[in-house]
């Protein structure tokens, strides 16, 4: 019974076959990848995907990635949160004024807490959403061929392309210490 369900789940996870075109190289050494990426970029390849178990700065540098957009979204979310928190307080005071403890109806100090917490809540949520959206998560199917070793200790470099260009890349990878290179065509 469990086995049947297991098989069914496995099938579901598998999904339809997607055909990728390009070259996938599996590396062990980080500096190999760095030099490869530098070389590839020199050759005009911009659509390089490096998949690794941990982030490597050298690789990032070589890829020439700019800063992430997440921070702007987070800032906007936080700002919106603070505004929303304060507005909620003011609106509720305006909609049904009830005096408590002899305090002013618009008593700012307590509203700071509400505004502050709302800022953090919305900031964090927009941060999450931005991260997921920009990193294209959640995703059921990887946009590039994937290997289980990439979460262990191997680094994958995927360069899309086909034809002779792909073959050139394959050779380049081999030359840069790839343990394994596959051509997807």
């Amino acid at each position: 019974m469990i086995k049947k369900i297991d098989a069914l789940v496995g099938k579901l996870l598998e999904g339809p076959k997607v055909v990728h075109r390009g070259v996938l190289g599996v590396f062990y050494y980080v500096d190999d990848v760095t030099t490869l990426v530098t070389t590839l970029r020199g050759l005009g390849h911009t659509n390089i995907t490096v998949t690794s178990p941990v982030p490597h700065h050298d690789v990032e540098k070589a890829l020439g990635q700019g800063p992430s957009l997440v921070r702007w979204v987070t800032f906007c979310g936080g700002f919106l949160g603070a505004t929303a928190g304060f507005s909620l307080c003011f609106y509720s005071m305006y909609s049904w004024p009830l005096v408590v403890g002899g305090k002013e109806l618009t008593s700012l100090p307590p509203f700071v807490v509400i505004g502050y917490e709302s800022m953090i809540l919305l900031g964090a949520l927009s941060n999450l959403i931005a991260m997921l959206a920009l990193a294209r998560l959640p995703q059921l199917k990887a946009p590039a061929p994937y290997d289980a070793r990439f979460t262990e200790d191997r680094i994958g470099v995927w360069v899309p392309g086909d034809g002779p260009e792909a073959e050139r890349v394959r050779d380049l990878m081999r030359g840069h210490g790839a343990e394994e290179v596959t051509l997807h065509a």
Partner: protein, 1035 residues
């Protein structure tokens, strides 16, 4: 909120229909139409309260009452403002009589004892059976005895006629009736009557054990007079008693006389007065008191001779003064002699005729002394009584066991009870023919001579209890047994006949119909008092009373809120904290700390109290206000029957009495035993609402020395509380001088904070010892409406409580309970601090030494703070400030975080820890028909919500509505809160601060005595307290 508790729809329809149906279809039982107070009968409508004038039957005082009804249900009893005895107020017991009416343990139908069990009968069968038995008894050659309670008026006349026709004896049993004083008056003044004591006129009162603010005499009228007297700064009051009672706690000086020494003390004072030549009527009495020199009296009474001399001189100088004879607690075997000694004291300074007046004497001729009950018991014992009929009285409980009444009753072949409850006496009987309660039957009362007071049925007979008026039952029995020829046709006819007679005398030319309507509307007719003058006839022999038994402690039995036991089945009274010990639901023994240490017990531990006659086990209340050689136990508890609330609660201390009585008057000598106290192994279950009675300098209850008040130091330009300014604080208060007084006074005045010269309080110093200027500048006019728009409200509700008038009697607590549907919770929950009452009377025993005692009472309810700490913290606005200055509590919005209660400095919020309003729960507090009493204008709170005083918002809304209907502004005092309304001493004033002419404005802004509790917290309470005036008794 729980809807089920209040009414089923069907009940509602039934009741809503009553007013109209009764008036039109004639199907309702009383043929009499209900005549509401000040309202024409045709206007009876559901939703509108109607008031019926009636008379309270809870003690012999005979206060006039108004019964408030809604939709045909009596929901509250208040004093009748037009009645000369109550003048609008009513004591706790009177207010709680409503719970006697709605007592769930009332007898539902005629009952016959068969074997050990009770069997229901129909009225016809029961009457037939009883008539046969009475008929047989009448012809048996033996006597028929009728025992009733004291019901001066038509009922006593009927009962006398009934016994005369039956050839039996009529005995009126009132356990606490002051026969000894009556007898003493007969011997000394030649008048066998109880006079009216005019406290208001007196300049100096000495009470020889008389608890005139609690049970003795006419407490409501006396409290009113006492408060009026105390409003005069110079009028003093001294209590002479071995145990400091509530009355004594209100005194300026407590003379802790040896138990039974009151007589010697009084005679010693007479001696001094005559010796000093201060007597106005000294002729011929000097030799009576020759032996009672102050020194001799000191030896007898433990009272220092200088005290006796000082008090005697003051007593003579402060004419008119008043000496009050003793209550139950001091009733010894020499009770008549003691009362006579007090009479002598009044006589020699000329008080008789001034403050002691016989023109409004109590109408108590019919009351039989205890000796007659004893005689009856003997007669029953010998088999001379063929039938015994009891109504209203409960001698099997309220008479001491040694009277042998219960045992003798077993020898009577037929015993009939007309009681409405299954009390101890009824349990002895063979047949019960339950009577209707005073609230559901017609009657009248002349408790005080010349004050004819009507007792109207204010609602229909309760449907769940198949009862008949006792008068009708007696008439039916007489007819059935063949001696009814001379009896009136019906009880109603009898009553109306009596009033027709009165109409002839006091009708003042009005036709009968007008007169009768007037009587029912106003509550009765009051004759002009006939001036009666008395003179000294002679003195009895004076001898000091003896105490019996081998113990080392004198046993004082004190009456309390349960009176002679009749209050014990009313949860309001059971849960009303005792003014002294603050104990509820039980009995206790009061013991001096040193005595307790000697016995080896601590507060709350259980001891065994033994006398020659018996022993009881009960918890100890360690109390400094009692002599070291004395212990005191309250009366009225320890029922073995009567109902769910009374049965098994506390102990009946009468069991400790061995046969002893005052031979001269035939009264029980309650002060006659010595007791031995030993520690018991039992675990205490004492439930107390206030454990700590020390203020710890928190200035909750404040006093002002009379000298300071008279000196007028509290100048008009200064805000209240400035006496508190320490000498050093002068610089900051702008050269304000109150220092000379502070050095010598008690409390706030005797212990000023010692400060170095030139000291100025720091800005953040907010202790109560600082003048309020430092807290927030001169007190702002509390009229300000917080943050609401300035013209949003036209009122700012506030209250002023005069602690100088407050006696701590707790009538306000019961009034509040009744008005606001406050549930009782029972002893177990009180022990866990869950009592629900909205007002508590805080008691602070500042000092309890004899002569220098200082006991302070503070009624503490929601202070409706302007800057209320409770409001801010509620997350859902269940409590907020309304534009009229009320601290609102919206029960149905409350989620029960209880934060408000935590943050309330006054701790006046009560929380519904359990469901007191759900019938299916064990904690249900309104067992049918107690729920009939619920005020429909007030939400019955459900489980898990906070509740508190609302200044009776329902009354405010009603008052505002009435003013609006009549298109006029609100009048001051038009709206009264329930506590204010019920207060016998008129200590509470409620009103509008935005009306500058209102009483409350004048008191809260203008009084020299005003202060606010915990004012340093800047809560801006709406309740202003007026300091008690503290006096010293000097010659």
């Amino acid at each position: 909120m729980s809807d089920s508790v209040v009414f089923t729809r069907r009940d509602f329809l039934k009741l809503a229909g009553i007013g109209v149906a009764a008036a039109t279809s004639g199907c309702a039982q009383p043929a009499e139409k209900l005549i509401p107070y000040l309202v024409a009968p045709q206007d009876i409508l559901p939703g509108i309260p109607y008031w019926y004038a009636s008379t309270c039957r809870e003690c012999s005082a005979g206060c006039g009452t108004l019964v408030k009804t809604r939709e045909g249900r009596a929901i509250k009893i208040e004093g009748n403002p037009e009645h000369p005895v109550s003048r609008g107020a009513l004591c706790a017991r009177g207010q709680a009589s409503l719970q006697g009416f709605y007592d769930p343990d009332r007898v539902v139908a005629p009952m016959l004892r068969e074997g050990g069990a009770w069997k229901k009968l129909t009225w016809d069968d029961a009457l037939k059976l009883a008539s046969e038995k009475l008929g047989a008894a009448r012809t048996s050659g033996k006597t028929i005895a009728l025992i009733t309670d004291h019901a001066p008026g038509s009922f006593e006349g009927l009962a006398q006629a009934w016994t005369a026709a039956a050839g039996g004896t009529h005995l009126v049993f009132e356990a606490f009736h002051p026969h000894a004083q009556r007898e003493a008056n007969r011997r000394t003044f030649g008048v066998a009557a109880l006079p009216e004591y005019d406290f208001e006129q007196a300049n100096f009162v000495v009470s020889f054990g008389g608890d005139f603010l609690e049970t003795w005499g006419s407490p409501v009228a006396q409290a009113r007079g006492f408060a009026a007297m105390r409003a005069r700064p110079e009028a003093g009051f001294v209590a002479v008693e071995p145990r400091l009672s509530l009355t004594g706690a209100n005194a300026d000086e407590w003379v802790a006389v040896k138990p039974g020494g009151e007589m010697a003390m009084a005679l010693g004072m007479v001696h001094v007065i005559i010796a000093d030549g201060l007597a106005s009527n000294g002729a011929g009495v000097a030799d009576i008191v020759a032996a009672y020199t102050p020194e001799a009296v000191e030896a007898q009474t433990d009272v220092p001779s200088v005290t006796i001399t000082r008090l005697a001189r003051r007593f003579a100088q402060a004419s008119p003064s008043l000496a009050v004879p003793g209550g139950i607690a001091g009733q010894s075997e020499q009770a008549v002699a003691t009362a006579a000694a007090v009479n002598l004291l009044n006589w020699v300074v000329g008080n008789v005729g001034q403050t002691v007046r016989f023109d409004r004497a109590m109408n108590d001729e019919a009351v039989s002394p205890f000796s007659e009950l004893q005689r009856l018991a003997e007669s029953m014992e010998q088999g001379n009584v063929a039938a015994l009929v009891v109504h209203g009285a409960n001698p099997a409980y309220a008479a001491p066991g040694w009277s042998g009444f219960a045992a003798a009753a077993a020898k009577v072949p037929f015993k009939l009870s007309l009681s409405s409850v299954m009390d101890e006496t009824t349990e002895l009987c063979d047949l019960v023919l339950p009577s209707s309660h005073a609230l559901e039957s017609l009657g009248d009362s002349e408790a005080v001579r010349g004050i004819h007071s009507i007792q109207q049925p204010s609602m229909q007979r309760l449907p769940m209890f198949d009862t008949r008026p006792a008068g009708d039952t007696l008439i039916a029995l007489a007819r059935g047994a063949g001696f009814g020829a001379k009896m009136p046709a019906t009880w109603e006819e009898h009553v109306i006949g009596n009033w027709k007679t009165l109409h002839g005398r006091a009708g003042a030319g009005r036709p009968w119909d007008v007169f009768w309507n007037d009587v029912r509307r106003v509550g009765g007719v009051w004759d002009e008092p006939a001036a009666t003058s008395v003179s000294w006839k002679g003195a009895p022999t004076f001898a000091a009373p003896e105490l019996r038994g081998g113990g080392d402690l004198a046993l004082v039995l004190m009456p309390g809120v349960h009176y002679d036991g009749r209050g014990a089945n009313k949860p309001w009274l059971q849960e009303l904290p005792d003014p002294t010990s603050k104990i509820v639901w039980g009995s206790w023994v009061e013991m001096h700390p040193q005595t307790a240490a000697r016995v080896g017990v601590q507060d709350g531990e259980v001891v065994k109290v033994e006398t020659e006659a018996g022993s009881v086990e009960l918890p100890v209340y360690v109390y400094g206000g009692i002599r070291k050689d004395t212990i005191a136990i309250p009366l009225g508890q320890g029922h073995t029957a009567y109902g769910r609330f009374a049965k098994g609660t506390g102990v009946n201390a009468l069991a400790l009495l061995s046969p002893a009585q005052d031979a001269a008057s035939g009264s029980v000598a309650y002060l006659s035993a010595r007791a031995k106290v030993t520690k018991s192994a039992r675990v205490s279950t004492v439930a107390m609402t206030q454990r700590n009675k020390q203020q710890h300098d928190r200035e909750i209850a404040q006093v002002i020395p009379v000298a300071a008040l008279l000196a007028g130091t509290a100048g008009a330009g200064h805000a209240g509380g400035e006496h508190a300014a320490g000498a050093g604080a002068e610089g900051a208060t702008g050269g304000h001088h109150a220092a000379p007084i502070e050095q010598t006074r008690l409390g706030r005045y005797t212990e000023p904070q010692q400060r170095p010269p030139g000291w100025t309080p720091p800005a953040h110093a907010v202790t109560a010892a600082e003048p309020e200027m430092h807290v927030r500048g001169p007190r702002q006019n509390p009229v300000d409406q917080g943050s609401y728009a300035p013209n949003l409200a036209k009122h700012r509700w506030a209250m002023a409580i005069d602690l100088n008038a407050c006696t701590g009697c707790a009538a306000c607590v019961v009034a509040c309970n009744a008005e606001n549907n406050i549930p009782y919770v029972g002893p177990e929950l009180v022990r866990r601090g869950r009592e629900m009452m909205w007002i508590r009377i805080e008691r602070y025993d500042e000092r309890l030494d004899s002569a220098k005692h200082d006991v302070r009472f503070v009624p503490m309810m929601c202070q409706q703070c302007g800057d209320a700490p409770c409001e801010t913290v509620c997350p859902v606005y269940a409590t907020y400030h309304n534009p009229e200055g009320l601290n609102a509590q919206v029960y149905n919005r409350c989620v029960g975080t209880r934060y408000c209660s935590n943050n309330c400095p006054y701790k006046v919020r009560s929380f519904n820890f359990f469901d007191y309003s759900a019938p299916e729960k064990e904690t249900f507090a309104f067992a049918e028909p107690l729920n009939w009493q619920l005020n429909p204008d007030v939400t019955v709170r459900s489980k898990g919500v906070m509740e508190k005083c609302t200044f009776c918002i329902q009354r405010i809304l009603e008052g505002k509505g009435n003013a609006r209907d009549e298109n006029r502004p609100l009048r001051d005092q038009e709206i009264q809160t329930a506590c204010q309304q019920g207060c016998p001493s008129r200590a509470i004033v409620f009103g509008d601060l935005m009306d500058d002419a209102s009483q409350v404005s004048k008191l809260s802004r203008g009084s020299d005595r005003r202060y606010w509790v915990l004012n340093d917290l800047n809560t801006k309470p709406a309740v202003t307290y007026l300091k008690r005036i503290e006096r010293e008794i000097v010659t």
